[in-house]
């Protein structure tokens, strides 16, 4: 019999729609009063999609899987598929409605940027703080503090209060603490999205190393299929709370990418966005429509007009937009940025975006939409992101005198044509 380090057995988690916040005593009385008189609940929330308030909603639906020591398991799925709920259950933040989870050893979650950090404390103090929150003893941290500081690349600022740190530095520090914790199971939820490329690479390498050498088990959640490919040796795919795949990485990614095969000209974004802002985001992306298009299949070189619907929580005038383009297989192609800042103010709730597909080769693509801010240090702050924002296909034009594009040989991007001219006066 194989030794499992983590076993998730028929785990379901049920939430009640609309009961997300706490209630007040008055509401409770009003509800009781209405009930006694046979009236409709006055505190019922309206307009919450199709779901009636109080209707059970299964965030996880009989999910079962088991993980061996030293495995690096990737967890993928669309927004709202239940990934975060699953991680919350495994890290004991809440309990499952039915089913059970068994695990051996300590679980360390790599905390999101800033959580567990107190901004008035220095980097060094926060290392102790964060380590203790993750269950380390003071003595353990004492032994490792120099390694942690060195790994974090923050040694210069280690005695400065964390409130002066950039978000990238916070991630580095948080990651360093978690990476040096002797936990048997390590959970990483999309944390590497912040932080520069070099550090991301370093983190992934470290993770692979500790997993191989020390036999640590890693649960990694990401929308970035390339990091999944690099780190994980197995993936599970969640779709609407159900486990739809458990096994090979490439098959899993293919299932995830194909989960929304129908290319709709209108994308609705639910409540489940990935946000990494420290405060409440000023805007939320709601919907995307392709203007005057019947399908999301575009002829090569077409300029597509997209209408982006959003909700303004607070006016903001310094937000930038970018589309991160990937092939249907998840391979990154490139990114298009907005030329100027977007102004989100007043009563308008849509913007028009012209998206030029000139440099895309025929094939299927998806685009993640990211709204972000940038600060003077060149760090970005993610405001809202939808992964994926929309999917589309580029169809080939009738070849005039060109070859038919072969993406398998020439790649997903077709760059500007070479300009060839003959130097005047040269002897041929």
């Amino acid at each position: 019999m194989e030794e499992w380090i983590l076993k998730v057995d028929h785990v379901s988690k049920q939430y009640r729609l609309g009961q997300i916040g706490g209630t007040t005593l008055r509401e409770e009385f009003e509800r009781l009063h209405a009930k006694l008189r046979g009236r409709e609940d006055p505190t019922r929330m309206v307009g919450l999609g199709d779901g009636t308030v109080g209707e059970p909603f299964l965030a996880l639906d009989h999910v079962s899987f088991a993980v061996k020591k030293g495995e690096r398991l990737g967890i993928i799925g669309h927004n709202g598929a239940g990934k975060s709920t699953l991680l919350k259950l495994i890290s004991r933040i809440t309990v499952p409605t039915t089913g059970w989870i068994g695990l051996n050893g300590r679980v360390a979650s790599l905390l999101e940027v800033g959580t567990g950090f107190h901004e008035e404390l220095t980097g060094r103090e926060n290392i102790y703080m964060n380590g203790a929150i993750l269950g380390m003893k003071r003595k353990e941290i004492d032994e490792k503090i120099e390694d942690i500081i060195e790994f974090s690349e923050c040694s210069q600022f280690i005695d400065t209060p964390v409130k002066r740190y950039s978000s990238g530095m916070c991630v580095k520090l948080a990651f360093s603490v978690a990476a040096h914790l002797d936990s048997e199971i390590m959970i990483m939820d999309e944390v590497l999205a912040v932080g520069d490329m070099a550090f991301q690479t370093k983190c992934l390498e470290t993770m692979s190393d500790v997993s191989r050498v020390e036999g640590r088990t890693i649960l990694y959640v990401s929308h970035n299929m390339n990091t999944i490919r690099r780190l994980c040796d197995r993936v599970i795919v969640l779709d609407h709370g159900k486990l739809v795949h458990d096994g090979g990485v490439e098959e899993g990614i293919a299932i995830y990418m194909g989960a929304q095969e129908r290319l709709s000209t209108c994308m609705e974004y639910g409540e489940f966005h990935e946000r990494e802002t420290s405060e409440d985001p000023p805007i939320a992306l709601k919907r995307l429509e392709a203007v005057e298009r019947e399908s999301m299949a575009f002829e090569r070189g077409a300029v597509v007009r997209l209408k982006l619907f959003y909700q303004i929580m607070r006016p903001a005038t310094d937000i930038w937009l970018r589309f991160e383009l990937k092939t249907a297989g998840g391979q990154l192609v490139g990114t298009v940025f907005s030329i100027e800042k977007l102004r989100f103010e007043g009563s308008k709730q849509t913007v028009l975006v012209d998206f030029d597909t000139k440099h895309l080769a025929p094939g299927k693509f998806c685009a993640d939409i990211v709204a972000y801010r940038k600060d003077g240090l060149g760090n970005e702050e993610l405001i809202d992101g939808v992964f994926p924002g929309f999917r589309f296909e580029i169809t080939d034009r009738e070849p005039e005198d060109q070859l038919i594009w072969l993406p398998q040989y020439w790649g997903p991007a077709c760059l500007h044509p070479l300009q060839i001219s003959v130097e005047e006066g040269s002897v041929s």
Binding site: G22, L25, G116, E120, L134
Partner: protein, 297 residues
């Protein structure tokens, strides 16, 4: 159903930790909480640093608050209203200032601890949503960090007390009852922590209770012999009056530090029973909500 599955699982393999929806009335993770004592210390340190960082006076603020209220009490209740400060009949000489000060210091510790612990889930929700640690760590840390301010205030009180003791001319005496002080402080902590976690457990469902806490503490304050001595209370109401668990604590503290005053063993024991009962109720409620409060908060 869950427990059946759990047993099945146990049959296959032993797991160190099993997470199910199964509830036990009182699962406190006391041993685990003890393992996290470093975290308690760090939380205390964090509260302390955060409270006074970038303030000019720093920890001196801990002294200003009780000093101000003591001065106000001396003027309003002592000089204007001329309320008695005697707990028992008889001619005892006691500086009013000391009388009001010890009451204010104790009440201040009790009420700030209660306030801090009653808000624990909402205050730490961000952190608790991201990472697991024994939830009891937070209220314990809150109670301990208030103990530091309490200690500083007591230091000032001791200086004044010594001054009056050495100068003489008062009825202050040193008695063996001084040894009871640690027990009294512990009782204040137990009672405040108990009340605080009862409220905090309920606030996960009813946020209004939060608003009620300040109000209730304001009223409670006047039901305690802070601004007046026990002699003010008519004999026939004394039985009911002593049921307030804070009253015997306060009078016993005064008896201990001044060497004279009111001490009723029965009332004191009842107050301990009430304190422990409240703490137990709090712990039961706490262990009930700590597993799922993150779903509602």
């Amino acid at each position: 159903m869950a427990s059946e599955m759990e047993e099945q699982g146990r049959m296959e393999q032993q797991f160190g930790t099993v997470i199910t929806s199964k509830r036990r009335t009182l699962s406190l993770h006391l041993r685990e909480t003890l393992q996290y004592r470093d975290l308690i210390l760090l939380f205390v340190k964090r509260d302390w640093t955060a409270m006074y960082k970038q303030t000019v006076l720093g920890p001196l603020w801990a002294l200003i608050q009780p000093l101000m209220s003591t001065i106000v009490f001396t003027i309003v209740f002592g000089n204007l209203a001329q309320l008695t400060t005697a707990d028992t009949p008889g001619d005892y000489l006691l500086p009013e200032f000391l009388f009001y000060m010890i009451g204010n210091i104790c009440w201040n510790y009790f009420s700030t601890t209660l306030q801090a612990t009653s808000d624990i889930f909402w205050e730490n929700g961000d952190l608790m949503d991201k990472v697991y640690f024994p939830r009891l760590v937070s209220p314990i840390a809150a109670a301990c960090s208030r103990l530091i301010s309490f200690g500083i205030q007591c230091g000032l009180f001791v200086l004044l007390w010594l001054y009056f003791l050495i100068r003489g001319g008062t009825s202050i005496r040193i008695t063996p009852m001084l040894l009871m002080l640690p027990l009294l402080v512990l009782q204040m902590m137990v009672l405040a922590l108990g009340c605080g976690i009862v409220v905090s457990s309920l606030t996960t469902k009813y946020r209004d209770l939060d608003m009620l806490v300040d109000f209730a503490l304001g009223l409670w304050r006047y039901a305690c012999p802070l601004a007046y001595g026990l002699q003010l209370i008519p004999e026939k109401y004394m039985g009911i009056y002593l049921l307030n668990p804070v009253t015997p604590i306060l009078t016993t503290v005064r008896r201990a530090v001044f060497g004279f005053g009111f001490f009723d063993l029965r009332a004191y024991i009842v107050s301990w029973i009430v304190s422990l009962a409240v703490l137990l109720l709090g712990l039961v409620l706490f262990s009930h909500v700590e597993r799922t409060f993150m779903d509602t908060i």
